[in-house]
């Protein structure tokens, strides 16, 4: 999970916009030079309105920019938005690299589930694994049980 909801929404818009073949072609075309919407409409086997709709999706994702010149709508690709795809993958990488460091810290300590499972003989995933000896918390309320390692809950 990426922590920042806004960036995930943005990522979703980018990926949705790039998930369509016509839209990808429009981006590729307009990165090399400006095109009018009517010029784009001539290049694809679809109506002017359909192309205009694709252009609107791309504009919403920030992948192209539009400007009016006389009676024409001119479209230009936005390379920064494509770099954004790379940036989002970088962000996801940073998130997981942080998790890997924290995993290593947990693994550096003795396994807290070892002592709990010794008498039951079964290493399952139930909340009972981490119940402390003096706890009468039931399995149905795992969120209320005390962590076996004594760490304070911050919630």
């Amino acid at each position: 999970m990426v922590v920042d909801h806004g960036s995930v929404e943005h990522a979703n818009r980018l990926f949705h916009a790039l998930a369509d073949a016509t839209r990808r072609e429009i981006v590729a075309l307009t990165l090399t030079g400006e095109h009018s919407v009517s010029d784009l409409a001539r290049r694809f086997p679809m109506s002017f309105a359909a192309v205009q709709k694709h252009v609107a999706v791309l504009e919403g994702a920030g992948l192209i920019t539009k400007r009016r010149q006389g009676r024409e709508q001119r479209v230009r690709g936005n390379a920064d938005a494509l770099r954004e795809v790379h940036r989002l993958l970088d962000e996801l990488a940073a998130l997981w690299l942080g998790r890997l460091d924290r995993m290593a810290a947990v693994l550096a300590e003795p396994d807290p589930s070892d002592s709990d499972t010794a008498d039951s003989g079964a290493a399952d995933f139930s909340a009972a694994d981490s119940d402390t000896a003096d706890s009468d918390t039931t399995d149905s309320e795992p969120a209320d049980s005390e962590p076996a390692d004594g760490r304070e809950r911050r919630a």
Partner: protein
Amino acid sequence: MTVIDVKKDPETLSLTISSRFEAPPQRVWRIWADPRQLERWWGPPTYPATVVDHDLAPGGSVTYFMTGPEGDRHYGWWRVQAVDVPHRLEFEDGFADDTGRPNLDMPTTIVRVQLTAQGATATVMTIESTFPSSEAMEQMVSMGMVEGMSEALGQIEALLAGTPA
């Protein structure tokens, strides 16, 4: 822990990270399978996670919330798709609303975890995380768009690199 490889693939919108831990797969598995251990690494220190439900079985779910500095809570969920103890775990990871109910309007990622023994005392863990929602991914694959995207993104990369496409 040693990070072996970080691979960003803009063509499949996925990220694959391989790392080595000095513990056998059975031990590494428990940082995923024990909710109390999972809580210690899932959220960043400023947003610690509290796991509410934890059922690592195909079709099972994990629900959790992360608590922010202001006491603000952010709920999330996993939908478990595949489990092979202690080698493989696949789940969909998504957001939930304030009551913990999955918010299906928000995008999800698919996470695939693979643990491979390296001798008797070490494990290579490979985590693959893929954008965007599974639905969108499935749609894209079924419509043959992934290949098309590779091609288009290849052109785009060439453009960004300043070489003619």
